[in-house]
Structure formats: structure tokens, C-alpha cells
Symmetry: C2
Subunit: 198 residues, 2 copies
């Protein structure tokens, strides 16, 4: 990882850092805040609000609509973190709807499903959407992998124990945090956002 | 079916019919309008609008929120028709989110998934929500069945070709319309709504 990817070295990155520090990360999931601060290397204001989300198979649509809703509630610059899991065996379903599948059958249930369907490939996608009442900015991160059984590891959250990125031998929940941030969908999304906001 | 269940015989049913005739069925799916008119036995005003829907595993929550959104757009009494498919092998997932699963993998893909998971049981659920700006009224219909492969029949729409209700030997898409309306989730929901609005 270059120093730049932490958003702390160049003038451009300093601008991005200042803009992100002036925003509020609105999410009902405190784990997303922890990861964001670890990835960015600085503190991020956050508000724990479970925002209503529209139904869509398009992550960007869900994220942008959620950012507008967050802005209506907070009335100052906001960032939302929308995450999806695209299962190859289901042509990309459930995507942004994965949290409902996770609620229903858990990480092992999702892994069992793709295993039963004979294709374990999955893509983890994170879409960060910034909105300040007029300007939108998004950062997307995508990591290809497979779902494995049984679940392994105690780090992370959600489907981390069954997601193994291509080229890794450990699941997200087993990887050292630095490694997860480097190759993971959320790390990539934050670095993309930092670079676009510079 | 009793004459009452068509909403055309008693004073109470006449009241329900008048109230439903004064409302607009708001749906992006013209098949839902056709079935509603066949079930009720009278014409129903409709507006073909694809409303944004919130993400939820609770059909009633999605339907009531959608009815309020429809009312904001139409400004006169509205009815919305929210349908879900609860897969036993996935603890009820995807429920109201089934249309996204259907878009992704089609009816046979859904049937293949539950077959691979070893439990073909599914429940078809329809929730009708009426809202006139102040009063809410809902009618729910539920039909238990199994998903079968390959898809059979040319009637109906959506996942009708793979849904076979308990006690039937034909899929929804093979059943005579009268029989589908009698035992189906949408017929039951409309009769529940008619009876509650009487």
C-alpha cells in the first residue's frame, strides 16, 4: 500500500481527508465504522441510524438514494456504506439485498446454497456514497472470491467467515486486518472515495 | 365459492365494492390487475406506476409503505398488491424480495435452488393494502405449496409455472383460472380485503 492510499500524504489527499472528516458516516452497522477508520487512518464522525433502503438490484441506486435520505435527516454532508454480495450461481442475486438473506439463513446458509448449486464464486462489492446536498461522489470496491464451508475465523462480521478472496487461503474473518483492508471490497471503496474527493 | 366471496350479494359487500371501485389499484404489473378484476367480478381503476419499495422481510411493512407512497402520488384512495414467496429451505427468504430473485434466475432457477437445498416447500403470500390518506385496511392471502421442476403451464405469470399448491396436481400456470382464484394467495387476499372493507 502506498502512503497515498491512506489519504494522508499529498495535498490532494489532505483535501479528501478534510472533506471526509467534515462528513458523517450514517450506518446502522458499527463494524462498518470501525473498518472505515482503520482503512482511512483517521477518526470519522458517525451516526447510528438504520435508514430505509429502496429495493433494487443496483448497488449504486440503493446507495445514492440512501445518501439523499441520510442528508434529509442530518442536513450536513453524509457518507453511506452499501454492501452487496453477488452470487455467480444466482446470476448476481442477492447483491444489495444480501442482508436479508443473511438474516434468514446466516453465512453458512448462503455458503450451503451456492455449494448445492455447484458454483461457489461470489463477488463482494462495497459502494460508498457521499452527498452534501448538492454534490454526489461515490467510491466502489469489488473483490472476487468463493464461499467456503464450514465458516472459519472470528474477525469481521456478516458473511466474512465464509468469504475467501481469490488468491487467499484464509477467509475475510481469518485474515489479519491489514490484509483484509488491502484486498477487501471496503478498503478498495474507501481508497476510491479518497482519491475521487481529492 | 359463495356469492358473498365475490363481493356482490349482501349490503356489506356492496359497501366494500363501492369503496374498492372508488380506489385506484397502483401496480407496475398488469397481470395483477387482470387477476383482481376476475376475482372481484367488477372493473377496478388502475394506474401503472412502478413505485419504489423499501427493503424489508415483512410483507405488511413493504405494502403499507408502498400504499402511503402511492397515495402521495395519486392523492385519492389507493390499493397496492405486494406479493412474496417464502422458501422453507431458506427460512422464508426471499419473501417480498422475490421479484429480484425472479429477475436474476427465473422461475426454474428458484425451483432449482430449493431442489438443490433438499426442501421444495414454499408459501405464496399476497398482501393488499388500501389507504385513503387516513384509513389503512389490509387483506392477506396465503397458499402453501411446493416448487416443482420443470416449469409447467402457460397461464399466469412470474413463478406461477413452478408453484404447485398443496392438494393440487397442477401448477398455478396450469390451473383453470377459477380454480387458481379459489385456492390462490391473490384470490384469498382480495376476499379478505372485501370482507374487511364491508
Amino acid at each position: 500500500m502506498t502512503p497515498d492510499s491512506k489519504g494522508t500524504s499529498s495535498a490532494g489527499s489532505q483535501t479528501a481527508r478534510r472533506r471526509i472528516e467534515a462528513a458523517t458516516l450514517v450506518t446502522g452497522n458499527p463494524n462498518k465504522v470501525l473498518e472505515a477508520e482503520r482503512i482511512c487512518g483517521f477518526s470519522i464522525q458517525h451516526a447510528q441510524i438504520d435508514l430505509p433502503e429502496i429495493q433494487s438490484a443496483l448497488l449504486a441506486e440503493v446507495a445514492n438514494e440512501k445518501a439523499r435520505e441520510a442528508w434529509r435527516q442530518i442536513k450536513s454532508p453524509v457518507i453511506v456504506d452499501e454492501t452487496g454480495l453477488e452470487l455467480a450461481s444466482m446470476n448476481g442475486f442477492p447483491g444489495p439485498l444480501v442482508k436479508w438473506m443473511l438474516d434468514a439463513i446466516g453465512p453458512d446458509g448462503i455458503a450451503r446454497t451456492v455449494s448445492a448449486l455447484g458454483d461457489p464464486r461470489a463477488a463482494a462489492v462495497c459502494m460508498l456514497a457521499y452527498y452534501d446536498g448538492s454534490a454526489h461522489c461515490t467510491g466502489e470496491g469489488r473483490t472476487e472470491g468463493v464461499l467456503v464451508r464450514p465458516p472459519r475465523g472470528d474477525n469481521g462480521f456478516g458473511w466474512d467467515p465464509v468469504f475467501q478472496a481469490i488468491g487467499e487461503i484464509e477467509t475475510y474473518a481469518q485474515l489479519a486486518q491489514g490484509r483484509k483492508d488491502e484486498i477487501g471490497h471496503r478498503g478498495r471503496a474507501w481508497r476510491a472515495l479518497l482519491s475521487r474527493m481529492a
